[in-house]
Subunit: 112 residues, 3 copies
């Protein structure tokens, strides 16, 4: 696999408690990205936040915190991101999904 030059960063916000067929939605998204051979995917956990649902989620002690926000970042070429996006259509993601362009400096594919 080779990734260089101009690439696309796909950002997907989901709730930690969002499920898809009884499994975490974020794990299903990462699984599909991996299966599709995307260059990289990382899930970052938010401490607090709100999204499309307009609720404030928080990890503060003494507050309910069952649906903290997660940010999934997936990176690959624009063409591969275009090809990947339809594979998420059936997941009914309720949070923000957006993309922007980045310049790849280094990517060492194939290292174990």
């Amino acid at each position: 696999m080779k990734l260089s030059g101009r690439a696309v960063r796909l950002s997907i916000f989901v709730g930690e408690g969002d499920l898809w067929h009884h499994k975490p939605l974020y794990a299903e998204i990462v699984h599909r990205a991996h299966k599709a051979g995307m260059a990289g995917a990382t899930v970052l956990r938010g401490l607090e936040g709100f999204g499309a649902s307009s609720r404030i989620h928080t990890s503060h002690p003494f507050r309910l915190s069952e649906d903290l926000p997660l940010l999934i970042v997936i990176v690959d070429s624009g063409q591969r991101v275009d090809d990947f996006l339809p594979r998420l259509d059936d997941l009914d993601i309720s949070g923000l999904v957006f993309r922007d362009e980045v310049d790849v400096i280094r990517y060492s594919a194939g290292r174990s």
Copy 2:
């Protein structure tokens, strides 16, 4: 609420220990973003870092870690981000604040 096409991602770095009127600064920023009806806000906690203050903060064991870096990401249209920014003026944020543009692919407002 509707968000589509070109949008702005606002990135705000603060310290976890930064206070505003005895409450966490990051929580006040998220609260104001929510009150202003912004499309989304998420607080990500850094493991280590430094910012305007030039100190290295860390969560390593056996090191003081009372002011870990937090990254707050807020997304909405350029116009709404422009309108929101002055509402942060009195908070005297000491870390980096920057913006960049993204292309919204999906945003399902109004879901509970």
Copy 3:
């Protein structure tokens, strides 16, 4: 130090378990960024993900999780990022490294 207008955000993905001379690679990168006087650096810990190595790392209970993904974000002017990048050459970073441009709104250097 002054940072305003157009700047560059450098994003570096490494594994939490990646070492450089028996110390964590991410800590060495932050240390070098600090020594070089970069405006800011923050390490974000991923909950799950995969990168150049194509393995899925996870923090789920009952799965091995010794190499969770980390995202290091470093921000400064384009010129300073250009000057800084060669200082990472000997680290043999195996994950994705990319850059994109942002517009700095606020940066209060020198605050303690």
